[in-house]
């Protein structure tokens, strides 16, 4: 059934021989401007004049990990504080902030993750001064009114209700609780229904005071702006900002808990959502690059062992991967997938098999070379836009990595040996400590999964 060959060129072309590629061009992490202002703000500028767009990203080095420093029941506080910044200042009402931002065709967004709180503004160059002024207002003069807080809380409580419709979310939520135990990384950044209900204006004000201050701030300017313009703009809005700052106590590194099987009931589920893993390294751990490459081999790209096994050989799933989630003060490594309920156990057995093989035997020469080529070849795409460069530059500062880190990263990856990978797997993967979190049709898997441990059942109301 092959199509008829119609041209001589086809006869000369031997398709069975792959072409020989050229030598990849060297790529270095772009240089960026960096300074610290007299008030203590770290400023980064990634200038790129190709498009008439400017972004300013404000990053405060405190996020959800510190929520529980403000009271045991305050999960979600950092995230709600960030959301409330745009809900009214001493100069502008929430409606005015929205109206002015939208009119400029600009974006003004706020949020928090585990390690930091963020405000970001983005517009065409011609509107940047105006949107930057609004960003400065929401950062410096938020009022945190109770009326607006009640609104935000009602929306958040509803969003949390909606999230539990999602199997992935449930599996991850139970997974984090079992893996991190009493550590603040066990909570969801968004909080939970009881913690959100308990948050009051006074809590927001405290979180704001301890977090939003110049010494705690990294600002990255990106795009159609020079370092001189950026620093001038920043100084004119923030030069006289002096807020007292006292760093909160960092959480302890989480302990490796013992193995557990947690089943979360999701009514009407036809698939099991699985997340299987345990505690792993912090982001600034010297072994990060090794563990990261090991994770890529396990489940970090399409030809990884987990995807090949579960999807391409067995047809168990549409999507399977492993993830190394490393934060400032804690981290974990896990395998994630979704499969039909009746192949839940078969899938877990395959995952265990792959984890054990990685610990017990070295990868082949070809596999190791492949993964190195993939990581190096894919790296330029992570530097495609000035904003993706900025994210990486911000991470250097947030995680305390040196400015040459990304160049070292690629070099280090290429120097790792087969033995390094096996030793890394042996050191950082612990099949006897795994938390097996499964969200789905609990009654139908309860008996089978006892082969991995005695299950604990989480009911969702």
């Amino acid at each position: 059934m092959n199509k008829t060959v119609i041209k001589n060129i086809e006869e000369q072309l031997n398709r069975s021989i792959p072409p020989v590629p050229g030598k990849p061009k060297d790529i270095n992490f772009p240089k960026f401007f960096e300074t610290v202002t007299p008030s203590g703000i770290t400023v980064l500028v990634i200038e790129d004049r190709k498009l008439p767009l400017v972004t300013a990203r404000f990053v405060f080095r405190q996020g959800a990990y510190s929520d529980t420093s403000f009271g045991k029941q305050k999960a979600g506080l950092g995230s709600i504080t960030a959301e409330m910044l745009t809900k009214g200042t001493s100069q502008r009402s929430a409606a005015t902030i929205a109206e002015q931002t939208d009119f400029l065709g600009a974006t003004l967004s706020t949020g928090a993750d585990y390690d930091a709180s963020y405000v970001s503004c983005y517009s065409l160059t011609k509107h940047f001064d105006e949107i930057f002024g609004i960003a400065s207002d929401v950062l410096r003069n938020p009022v945190f009114s109770d009326e607006e807080l009640q609104r935000v809380k009602e929306q958040r409580l509803n969003s949390l209700l909606s999230m539990i419709d999602d199997g992935d979310y449930l599996a991850s939520r139970s997974y984090r609780q079992a893996v991190y135990g009493n550590n603040p990384y066990s909570f969801s950044v968004d909080g939970n229904s009881s913690s959100v209900a308990s948050i009051e204006v006074g809590d927001l004000k405290k979180f704001y005071e301890k977090t939003y201050s110049p010494e705690n701030l990294i600002v990255a300017f990106v795009g159609d702006v020079s370092p001189e313009e950026a620093v001038m703009r920043l100084e004119s809005e923030f030069g006289n900002w002096h807020a007292s700052f006292e760093e909160l106590k960092a959480p302890e590194k989480p302990d490796m808990n013992s193995s557990a099987v947690v089943l979360t009931r999701k009514s009407g589920a036809v698939q099991s959502s699985l997340r299987i893993g345990h505690v792993c390294i912090n982001r600034n751990d010297p072994d990060f690059i090794k563990v990261s490459l090991m994770n890529t081999i396990l489940g970090g790209y399409f030809t990884s062992r987990i995807n090949k096994n579960l999807r391409e050989v067995n047809g168990f799933t549409y999507s399977a991967r492993s993830a190394l989630s490393s934060h400032r003060f804690g981290g974990d490594i896990s395998v994630l997938t979704e499969v039909k309920t009746d192949i839940t156990t078969a899938t877990i057995r395959e995952i265990m098999k792959e984890i054990n093989i990685l610990r017990e035997s070295e990868p082949g020469d070809e596999e190791l070379q492949n993964v190195k080529n993939f990581v190096s070849g894919n790296f330029p795409l992570q530097l495609e836009t000035p904003n993706s460069i900025a994210s990486k530059a911000i991470n250097l500062k947030l995680f305390g990595l040196n400015n040459d880190y990304y160049n070292t990263y690629i070099r280090t990856v290429n120097e790792l040996t087969k033995e390094d990978i096996r030793l890394t797997a042996e050191k950082f993967l612990h099949p006897d400590k795994l938390v097996f979190s499964i969200a789905g049709d609990v009654d139908n898997i309860l008996d089978e999964v006892t082969e991995f441990g005695i299950p604990e059942i989480v009911e969702i109301n």
């Binding site: 059934m1 398709r15 498009l51 767009l53 009514s267 030809t303 047809g315 894919n378």
Partner: protein, 428 residues
């Protein structure tokens, strides 16, 4: 109706340069150079989607999207992505009602590898029974994950089967699973022979390339493939809905969902652009009409959105709302309806238009940064409009929309008696 003269509106968005070429066998080539990073994106789009399937054999177009990675005459099963990853590259693909797109992204020094891999899958057929069996299972899991096990996951299927009833847009893109199960290797070969041909394809190459060298390589790998047999494409011709259809659907969700769908003209039509601007007025940004009124002022919804989908022969204007617990979804419906009626009566301010235009400019500027995104856009414009010039000109189609255009499009197409309303209710 007065068209706003183009010279009144200027945009500072820089133009993108590109070059077009066509091979003797009909393969359309679009190239655009960008030296920002030493990478290149290759997008091959075949003008075949779920609407081209025969009734009773649905799901073939999407199944192909999987199988094209699963073996060709010189690249055995399992090797496509392995070779690509090994060369620092990555791939993906998607299927719509009208087309199937494949993309590869890799270091520019390795571009020839992409052409070798990609061309082998149309030069010949190499899909095995084993690959077919495994990918049927993978697709079934894909459907379970995105449709059956996902909150509000059935909206697209429930919506299109009603809005496009008795037409080829009416069945799910992923297909009916019982029909998919019956697919044979012969079905695949016939489909491949008919649709996976140079004359039915566009290849777009964007990134760190040399134009002459790229054409030389494309001629080398694709030039010898026969153009395929010309065929007459069946028209879908979806009929209008004759009266309002309301369906209550119970789902594993905690919050009620309301989804309102109207059939509108096809992608690229004057109405398509006008209704896109209307969508911006209604739900883009916290100050937009419906977000401000329903989410903020009245606190009726957790989410409200509008979207315009442009298909080859029709379009969809969709309103979706997730209702806050304890609030009335009838009330939500009333407010949405009165906002649309208000627009139809001519109530749109110049400020609202200006606001959406500013957004459009920001959006089009930032959309120029991704080589994968640009390659996809070029393939789309060439396939459906045969006009790559729209890459630079299309923004003006949005910026030139007038209040009168919106009022007319809304009056002609956003009518209660021709719409579908899906009410998603929490299971008891």
């Amino acid at each position: 109706m007065k068209q706003r003269p183009a010279e009144n509106i200027r945009t500072a968005i820089p133009s993108i340069e590109y070059l077009e070429h066509q091979l003797d066998n009909g393969l359309s080539v679009v190239m655009s150079r960008s030296k920002r990073i030493p990478s290149v994106a290759v997008n091959t789009t075949y003008h075949v989607g779920s609407k081209d399937e025969e009734p009773g054999k649905t799901g073939l177009a999407h199944l192909f999207e999987h199988l094209m990675f699963e073996g060709s005459p010189n690249v055995p099963k399992g090797k496509f992505d392995e070779i690509l990853n090994n060369n620092g590259g990555d791939s993906n693909a998607y299927t719509t009602w009208d087309s199937t797109s494949y993309f590869i992204c890799l270091p520019s020094s390795h571009l020839e590898i992409a052409f070798w891999l990609d061309s082998d899958r149309i030069a010949g057929f190499g899909i095995t029974e084993e690959a077919l069996r495994v990918q049927k299972d993978v697709v079934k899991e894909e459907k379970l994950m995105y449709v059956d096990n996902s909150p509000y996951g059935t909206v697209e299927d429930e919506g299109s089967k009603r809005l496009f009833a008795n037409s080829a847009y009416g069945w799910p893109i992923i297909g009916n699973m019982d029909e998919l199960e019956k697919t044979t290797i012969d079905d695949l070969k016939n489909f491949h022979n008919k649709y996976y041909t140079p004359s039915n394809a566009v290849i777009s190459v964007v990134g760190d390339i040399d134009y002459d060298e790229t054409i030389r390589m494309i001629e080398k790998y694709y030039g010898g493939i026969s153009r395929g047999v010309d065929f007459k494409r069946n028209k879908v011709m979806p009929a209008d809905v004759v009266s309002e259809q309301i369906a209550d659907i119970s789902d594993n969700v905690h919050l009620e969902g309301k989804f309102i769908l109207y059939k509108i003209p096809e992608s690229g039509s004057k109405e398509y652009y006008a209704l896109n601007i209307l969508s911006g007025i209604l739900t883009e940004g916290d100050s937009s009409r419906l977000v401000k009124e329903l989410e903020y002022d009245l606190e009726l919804v957790n989410e409200i959105d509008t979207a315009v989908y442009g298909l080859e022969e029709a379009g969809v204007f969709a309103v979706s709302a997730i209702v806050l617990k304890g609030k009335s979804s009838d009330q939500v419906q009333k407010r949405i309806d009165s906002a649309i009626e208000d627009v139809k009566s001519g109530n749109i301010s110049e400020t609202e238009l200006e606001k959406v235009r500013n957004r459009v400019e920001t959006y089009f500027s930032s959309g120029r940064q991704s080589i994968v995104g640009l390659a996809d856009k070029f393939s789309f414009l060439k396939t459906f409009h045969n006009d790559c010039g729209r890459i630079n000109a299309e923004v003006m189609n949005y910026l030139n929309v007038t209040k009168e255009d919106i009022v007319m499009a809304a009056n002609n197409f956003l009518n209660k008696d021709k719409r579908i309303v899906l009410n998603y209710m929490p299971k008891k």
